[in-house]
Every structure is written in structure tokens, then in C-alpha cells.
């Protein structure tokens, strides 16, 4: 039953490259299996940094410079997880979070901000994780992996 559902969601290639056969068709397998992460971050240098680091981790990375772009990317790029900055121009992360929830999307969301104070914003409680920005991206990477694992279950 579960297999059927997976097949329906992820298309026929997934069956060909299915877990057991990984390595059998490495190219297709890699391309299909890559999880997509949407990084929403207004500061260009940080955005590039996160993109690079997460790509190196084996993810496909989409980027957006504010909430509005993020909403478009969500619709078009169909990411598996969102890393969402809070303080951004045009549409901030908290409002973006509300928009994502309103669409009934169950996509995991990590709030990623320099300001721990936004935990007092009740909407921030809707996120799956709240991570304060740090030069060490270990916590962020671990959380990404953890949430994607959880999503698979």
C-alpha cells in the first residue's frame, strides 16, 4: 500500500530507481532522489553560502530573497523543506509562514533567524524548528536531515 502511494506521488522513475536498486541506475537515481530545499534569505551573501553548503550536502537548492518570491517558488519548485529567514523586505518570514499554513501545506519549515526573540511570536510556534543563525551550520544541517527523515516516515 505504502509502495503504491509512493509510486503515485513520485512518478514512475522512482520505481525504477527505487531504494533497493540504488546504484543500479546511479544517474537517474541521484537526480530523482535529491531532496529539494527552498532557502528564503534576503541577504545575498548568506543565501549563496547556504546554497553552497546545502548543495554540498547533496540537496538540490532553490532560493528566494523574500516571502513573496518564496510563495512563487513553493508553487513552481515544489520543495521538500523550507528554510525561512524572518526579517526580510517585501514579505517577512512570519507572514510567509501564515501563507504557507493557509494553503494547508504540510511541508516542514525551519525558521532561521538572528533574533531569538521571535519565539514570542505565536505564529513562530507553527514552524517545525526555530534555529538561531550561527556561522556554524551544523545545527541547521542536522535539523534539515532530521525533518526530511521524519517526513519520509
Amino acid at each position: 500500500m505504502q509502495n503504491c502511494q509512493r509510486a503515485k506521488n513520485e512518478g514512475p522513475e522512482e520505481i525504477i530507481s527505487g531504494k533497493n536498486r540504488k546504484g543500479f541506475l546511479p544517474f537517474i537515481g541521484d537526480r530523482i532522489m535529491k531532496k529539494k530545499i527552498l532557502v528564503v534569505e534576503d541577504e545575498e551573501s548568506l543565501r549563496l553560502l547556504y546554497e553552497e553548503e546545502l548543495t554540498a550536502e547533496g540537496y538540490e537548492v532553490l532560493t528566494a530573497g523574500n516571502g513573496k518570491e518564496a510563495i512563487l517558488q513553493l508553487q513552481e519548485g515544489k520543495p521538500d523543506l523550507v528554510i525561512l529567514d524572518i526579517v526580510m523586505p517585501v514579505m517577512d518570514g512570519i507572514e510567509t509562514l501564515g501563507r504557507i499554513l493557509g494553503k494547508g501545506r504540510k511541508i516542514p519549515i525551519i525558521l532561521h533567524t538572528s533574533y531569538p526573540g521571535y519565539r514570542e511570536d505565536l505564529m513562530s510556534w507553527a514552524a517545525d524548528a526555530y534555529i538561531t543563525k550561527s556561522s556554524d551550520l551544523k545545527e541547521l544541517k542536522n535539523k534539515v536531515r532530521e525533518l526530511l527523515e521524519k517526513k519520509k516516515d
Binding site: G98, G102, G104, L122, M123, A126
Partner: protein, 401 residues
């Protein structure tokens, strides 16, 4: 003392109350002569010393807004007290409220601003008197996450209510929304434990459950979604209405249909109504414009301005016409030789000479022409008016007769 914020759900369309809800939301429907339905819930709040109150509206809220502006602006804003209307404003998302839980979720910023310890969620559609302090005390004493007020109802009405199943300690272990086959009360196969739509939530739990619900495939309703998911996970309790019932008569009515509305109004003309409006320790507050007292004129053979077993509001003049077992809102005028029986006449209705009205509800300002008969030939009435199953005729606002 814990900080309590009351949120009254006042957005219901009240479709089954049509045409009384054609121009107003259900909580704004006039009741008992001088009141609006929402006055009972609001008065319960004030009399329970709860003075931070939001009314969440959605449809046709002008009439309600105006009533609250006129009648309910007496609280002390500098002390953080208020009765305030929040219209649906698509603050978080670009749709109208989808369910009762969605209405609170969309106003999550209000909770953030007030940051109460407890949130008391109420419906603006019910007629009853209840001391919410008793419910809150119970909630705190038991250490509950959620407490739901419950009342015994006959099993036959299960499709109109959320039906709860509780264990020996009052903990909710089952919740069915409007079931065909309800769980009955142990030892009382004819009775069900119905949710009254009155909830006390710990704020933090409420917010977490609302946010989870917002992300799930759900109808975003307290009865259908939130409470069932809390069972087992959180500590949800049922509270027997009798613990908080002010007056001790167990009186609680959902005036959801015209017939129920009619009956609940008529309950008030009994010699000793179950719902006591005369309790000076529990005033029911409303807005009343400065009308002169009610008056009767003419006392001749056959031309007698009189009223029997009725409620007559200020500004009424019974001028040579006769009223029995009826409820007259302010400024109703009954002209000579007219007869009104078992009816509800809302504000400003004018009944012409020789007119005869029986078992009818006449909405505001309707002019009843001379000699007309309403409620005597239901087939005829049904051509122009709404006639309910039990034969109540409703004459809508604005109609020209």
C-alpha cells in the same frame, strides 16, 4: 488571579433563522422584547467579572456592531477592559473563516497582544445564564488543558450537538460531532452529554493545537477537529452545566431555528419563567433608546387597548387593540380593534385597525395594513411569507403589504 480573555464566535450565518437573519447575524437577532441574542453571553461575561471580550464577526455584522457600540461601550478602557468587535479581516490568509477553530486561528495576533493565561471561547447564539467563574475555577483546580461545558440532552437531538463521552472523573474520552448513533450517558440510555460550545483553554495549548490544525487536512472546527485530536493527548474535561448554571433551572437554548427561537421567546411569558430576567445580581445588559413607557389607551366596549400574559417594551402604544401571550419590542403600535395572539412583534411594527395576527413573528418596522389576517390561513400565508413546520409565520423586514 489568572488573566482570562473571552472570544465570542458571532459569525454564524444563522441560515435556519432566515428571514430574521436576512439583514443581521444570528447573535444580533432581537430576543425577549428588548435584547439581542448576544446580550446573554455578554452579560454572562460581565457578571462573571470577565471584562476583556472580543466578538468575532463575519457575515452581516453591521447590526451587531451597532448594537455593541451603543449598548456595550461602558467598560473602562484604561483598565484594559473592552468589548470589541473583530470583523473577519483575512489577517493571516486570504479566505473567510472556515470553521470555529479557524476563526480563532486567524486572530492569533489578538491572543499574542493580550497574552492571557486562559481563553474562554463562547458562542453568541445561545440563551442561558452561566457563571463562567465556576467553570474556570474547576478548570484550574483540576489542572485541565481544556474544559468543555456539557448539558444533558435527549438522545433524539444528537444530530444537533457535539456528543461527549466521559470517564468517572469527567475526563473526555470520546467526542462525536452531530452523530446519528450517539454514545449515551451511562445509566441513562435516553440521554446524551452535549457540548454547549463553551470552552476554557490554556492559552498555550490552544495556540499549539490551532497551529497544528491549520497545517492539517481539517475542517478547522473545534467540535470536529480540535477536541477529538486532544483526547488522549491532552487533559480535556467536561464540566456539568449545573455547576455554573445561574438560576439553577438548567435553562440553555440554542435559538438556531425559527421554531426554537419562537419557543424560547414564549418561555419568557410564563408566570415564572425558567430564565429569570429579574435577578438584580445577574443583570442582562442591553441597549435601550430613550423611549417613553408603554401605554394603553381606549377602554370602551369593543375598543379596549389591553395586553394579557405578554411582554410589552417601552415606547409601545396599545391603542384600542388587544394583545395576548405575545412579546412586543419597543415602539410597537396596535391600533383599534386589532388582535394579536401568541406572536412576536419586533421594534416599530404597526398593526392597523381590525388586523388579526396569530402565531407570527413580524420583523422590524413592518406596517400591517387594516383588516389583514396573518396566521389564520397558513396556505395563503405561505404564498407570501416563510411558514415553519410548526406553523409559525414570519413576516420579513422591508416587506410592503
Amino acid at each position: 488571579m489568572k488573566k482570562v480573555l473571552a472570544m465570542i464566535l458571532a459569525g454564524g450565518r444563522g441560515e435556519r433563522l432566515y428571514p430574521l437573519t436576512r439583514d443581521r447575524a444570528k447573535p444580533a437577532v432581537p430576543f425577549g422584547g428588548i435584547y439581542r441574542v448576544i446580550d446573554f453571553t455578554l452579560s454572562n461575561c460581565i457578571n462573571s467579572e470577565i471584562r476583556r471580550i472580543y466578538a468575532l464577526t463575519q457575515y452581516k455584522s453591521t447590526s451587531l456592531h451597532r448594537h455593541l457600540q451603543l449598548g456595550w461601550n461602558f467598560l473602562a478602557a484604561p483598565l484594559g477592559e473592552f468589548v470589541e468587535v473583530i470583523p473577519a479581516q483575512q489577517r493571516i490568509d486570504d479566505h473567510w473563516y472556515q470553521g470555529t477553530a479557524d476563526a480563532i486561528y486567524q486572530n492569533i495576533y489578538t491572543l499574542q497582544q493580550e497574552w492571557p493565561d486562559l481563553v474562554l471561547i463562547l458562542s453568541g447564539d445561545h440563551i442561558y445564564k452561566m457563571d463562567y467563574r465556576r467553570m474556570i475555577a474547576y478548570h484550574l483546580e483540576k489542572g485541565a488543558d481544556l474544559t468543555v461545558a456539557a448539558i444533558r440532552m435527549d438522545r433524539a437531538f444528537s444530530r444537533e450537538f457535539g456528543v461527549m463521552e466521559v470517564d468517572g472523573n469527567g475526563r473526555i474520552i470520546g467526542f462525536q460531532e452531530k452523530p446519528e448513533e450517539p454514545k449515551t450517558i451511562p445509566g441513562d440510555p435516553g440521554g446524551i452529554l452535549a457540548s454547549m460550545g463553551i470552552y476554557v483553554f490554556n492559552m498555550e495549548i490552544l495556540v499549539r493545537r490551532l497551529l497544528e490544525d491549520a497545517r492539517s487536512d481539517s475542517t478547522h472546527d473545534f467540535g470536529k477537529d480540535i477536541i477529538p485530536t486532544m483526547i488522549g493527548k491532552d487533559f480535556a474535561l467536561a464540566l456539568d452545566f449545573r455547576i455554573g448554571d445561574r438560576g439553577g433551572q438548567g435553562y440553555w437554548r440554542d435559538v438556531g431555528t425559527i421554531d426554537a427561537y419562537f419557543e424560547a421567546n414564549m418561555d419568557l411569558i410564563a408566570v415564572t419563567p425558567q430564565l429569570n430576567l429579574y435577578d438584580s445580581q445577574w443583570p442582562i445588559v442591553t441597549y435601550q433608546p430613550p423611549n417613553p413607557p408603554a401605554k394603553t389607551v381606549w377602554a370602551e366596549e369593543g375598543r379596549m387597548g389591553s395586553a394579557l400574559n405578554s411582554i410589552i417594551s417601552n415606547g409601545c402604544i396599545l391603542s384600542g387593540g388587544n394583545v395576548k401571550r405575545s412579546i412586543l419590542s419597543p415602539k410597537v403600535r396596535i391600533h383599534s380593534y386589532a388582535e394579536v395572539e401568541d406572536s412576536i412583534l419586533l421594534e416599530g411594527v404597526d398593526v392597523g385597525r381590525y388586523a388579526k395576527i396569530r402565531r407570527a413573528i413580524i420583523d422590524k418596522e413592518v406596517q400591517i395594513p387594516q383588516g389583514i389576517k396573518i396566521g389564520y390561513d397558513l396556505n395563503e400565508d405561505a404564498k407570501r411569507f416563510t411558514v415553519t413546520e410548526s406553523g409559525i409565520v414570519v413576516v420579513p423586514k422591508w416587506i410592503k403589504l
